[in-house]
Symmetry: C2
């Protein structure tokens, strides 16, 4: 029954929610930061740098790959992961537009006064 009503929302809302969900775990945030910091796309070394089992890290990688935020290239025995910067830029614009819209509102006062 869960997630049944997803189709009732805007495509934009669903897209933003999908990406937000991908970033909704510190491990996945850490993976993206790791891939960004090392210009060389490391592989299973990612698992070594995270406080999680190799299996769990692999799952997180698959989740990011499913959204095409990262890409993996098989290089013999190892797999090279790297960021899809093009898509990340599009996602950035999506978030930026959302936040501009959200912060443009006059809204509440400093404490919790609501000028209804």
């Amino acid at each position: 029954m869960t997630y049944a009503k997803t189709a009732a929302f805007t495509e934009e809302q669903q897209q933003l929610a999908r990406v937000a969900k991908a970033l909704a775990h510190p491990a996945r945030v850490a993976i993206i930061q790791l891939l960004a910091s090392k210009q060389t796309c490391i592989s299973g070394d990612i698992a070594a740098e995270l406080p999680l089992s190799r299996t769990t890290v692999s799952q997180h990688l698959q989740e990011l790959k499913a959204l095409d935020l990262i890409r993996g290239e098989i290089d013999g025995l190892t797999v090279c992961y790297c960021l899809n910067t093009e898509l990340l830029q599009q996602v950035q614009q999506l978030f930026t537009a959302f936040f501009i819209e959200a912060t443009a509102s006059p809204a509440c006062g400093p404490a919790d006064a609501c000028s209804c």
Copy 2:
């Protein structure tokens, strides 16, 4: 056992993941957009505008309120919700910094070529 290793990540990573989780459902994205569009902070009218039961909407509202992204002020019989634009601006900066870091990397080629 789940979420046990959260403490092992950076405070910044956890913060970003927390907020991302809040945006990880189209209903919550829709709520924020709704509050942004109406300068007056509506109350239970939010539930009427969403394709979900009043109970479920209330839960989503509580989730956003728990992170202080929105605030509620009791006005007699109704409750007025409004955006915490100050916090939203901080969150925006958090995301902006993250995306700048992520998109700055040279990374992959257009297809899936990985220059390892």
